[in-house]
């Protein structure tokens, strides 16, 4: 938030402070994370290089007690994104756009998310592939993608891979990328300089976060093996509706909040699933993330921002 000649209303200032004061900034140097504490607006505004946003698990169509108005909270998230002090380059959506893969749910998501006026790079969640013919997601978001919807692109010298680990799942297993996609990943990374920062995004966590609840991807090790030689790898996921982070060597794993409903922390409930919390707590457990790369430095900053602190 910089100077405005027309003056800034008190309400506006408070809104910005909410934005700025609720995220924790992590920097990664040499694979070691340092929390720099609460982000203030100066740091957010100073960010040079590439900043993009992650939204996840909007579950359009969800109307159960855990959040009867998932549309409303997605709208709130987008309103906050529009007020972000630094205009992000684009957005990624890490899946579960809809709850039941209905056309009307995809329509609602599009109507709301497009108001951010940013390019959005999607990957599907398991909830986006449950229409009987499994074709709506692919028709809407799959143009130019391979297999069930995976692809790569470059932005500001950073190489992005959007992966699908929710298709053709096998009984008794967890998330799965499958041989065809794994071969494509190996091929896609071949010949790239090890100094290229890599960002991988997919719906289900690409690490064994909590296998008892299926929170992991059974063949993610092979995918990560192809990324070992890169100096900076960032893995962004959704699915679990809460923030979790792990650093392993040069790889940072991070999961984002949902905009629809919270889920319990691993092992704290009989199962995963929508968690009902007191109404005044709900928005503290929903939110979005922003990710910033500074050019020339192997470090990134991930700021998780709840809808309400």
């Amino acid at each position: 938030m910089t100077d405005h000649n027309d003056g800034v209303s008190r309400r506006k200032v408070l809104e910005c402070m909410t934005w700025a004061g609720t995220g924790v900034l992590w920097t990664i140097s040499g694979g070691v994370p340092h929390s720099l504490g609460l982000v203030d607006e100066t740091m957010a505004a100073d960010a040079k290089g590439l900043t993009f946003l992650q939204i996840s698990d909007s579950h359009m169509g969800f109307d159960k007690p855990a959040n009867p108005n998932a549309k409303g909270t997605l709208e709130e998230a987008i309103t906050r994104i529009k007020a972000f002090p630094v205009k992000p380059s684009f957005m990624i959506h890490t899946g579960d756009i809809t709850h039941l893969s209905k056309v009307s749910e995809f329509d609602d998501a599009e109507k709301i998310i497009s108001q951010a006026k940013l390019d959005v790079h999607y990957v599907p969640g398991e909830h986006d592939l449950i229409d009987p013919e499994i074709k709506i997601y692919k028709e809407r978001y799959g143009r130019g993608t391979k297999g069930s919807g995976y692809y790569s692109f470059d932005a500001n010298g950073v190489h992005f891979l959007g992966l699908v680990n929710v298709a053709n799942l096998k009984g008794g297993g967890m998330g799965s990328l499958g041989d065809e996609q794994l071969e494509w990943i190996e091929d896609d990374l071949k010949g790239r300089s090890a100094s290229t920062p890599i960002v991988v995004f997919a719906h289900i966590p690409l690490w064994s976060l909590y296998p008892a609840w299926g929170w992991g991807t059974e063949d993610s090790e092979r995918a990560l093996g192809y990324m070992k030689r890169f100096g900076s790898v960032t893995v962004l996921n959704g699915h679990i509706h809460q923030v979790m982070q792990k650093v392993e060597g040069n790889v940072t794993f991070h999961t984002a909040r949902s905009t629809a409903f919270p889920q319990p922390a691993p092992g704290t409930a009989p199962s995963a699933g929508p968690m009902k919390v007191p109404d005044d707590k709900l928005r503290t457990m929903l939110g979005t993330a922003s990710v910033t790369f500074k050019q020339g430095e192997q470090r990134l900053a991930i700021i998780d921002t709840p809808l309400q602190s």
Binding site: K64, P65, A66, H99, L100, S101, E126, H127, I130, P132, L169, K170, G171, G172, G173, M174, P211, A212, W213, G214, P270, S271, A272, G273, P274
Partner: protein, 115 residues
């Protein structure tokens, strides 16, 4: 295959179908499997041939009932949605949730057992 033989086979198939239809309304056992907290309950159950098994999803998240061999496959079941399948042939039928594949269950169909 000549025409007469096709007609004969068709007639036999028809008779068998009528026999099955006649047998099921009176004798068919019905079993409920509840889906609760990402679990099929009971997870494993033995039934006699001809039993109709009905799954009901009590979770606030959709699940499916998907046979490992694709013999049966429900659509995504939203809260309180049901899916039924008639198990006519003895054998073990393993199934899982195609959305949350760590959820598994099995139906054992026994020619003689059951109730």
């Amino acid at each position: 295959m000549n025409f007469a033989r096709q007609v004969a086979l068709g007639a036999i198939a028809g008779l068998v179908a009528i026999a099955i239809m006649a047998a099921s309304p009176a004798g068919a056992a019905e079993i409920e499997v509840k889906i609760d907290n990402f679990t099929y309950n009971p997870m494993k159950i033995t039934v006699k041939a001809g039993t109709i098994v009905t799954w009901t999803n009590h979770d606030d998240i959709p699940h499916t009932v998907t046979s490992k061999t694709m013999l049966f496959k429900s659509n995504a079941l939203d809260t309180d949605d049901k899916f039924s399948f008639t198990f006519a042939t003895p054998g073990t039928y393993e199934y899982f949730c195609a959305l949350h594949p760590h959820m598994t269950g099995s139906i054992v169909v026994d020619a003689s057992a059951g109730r």
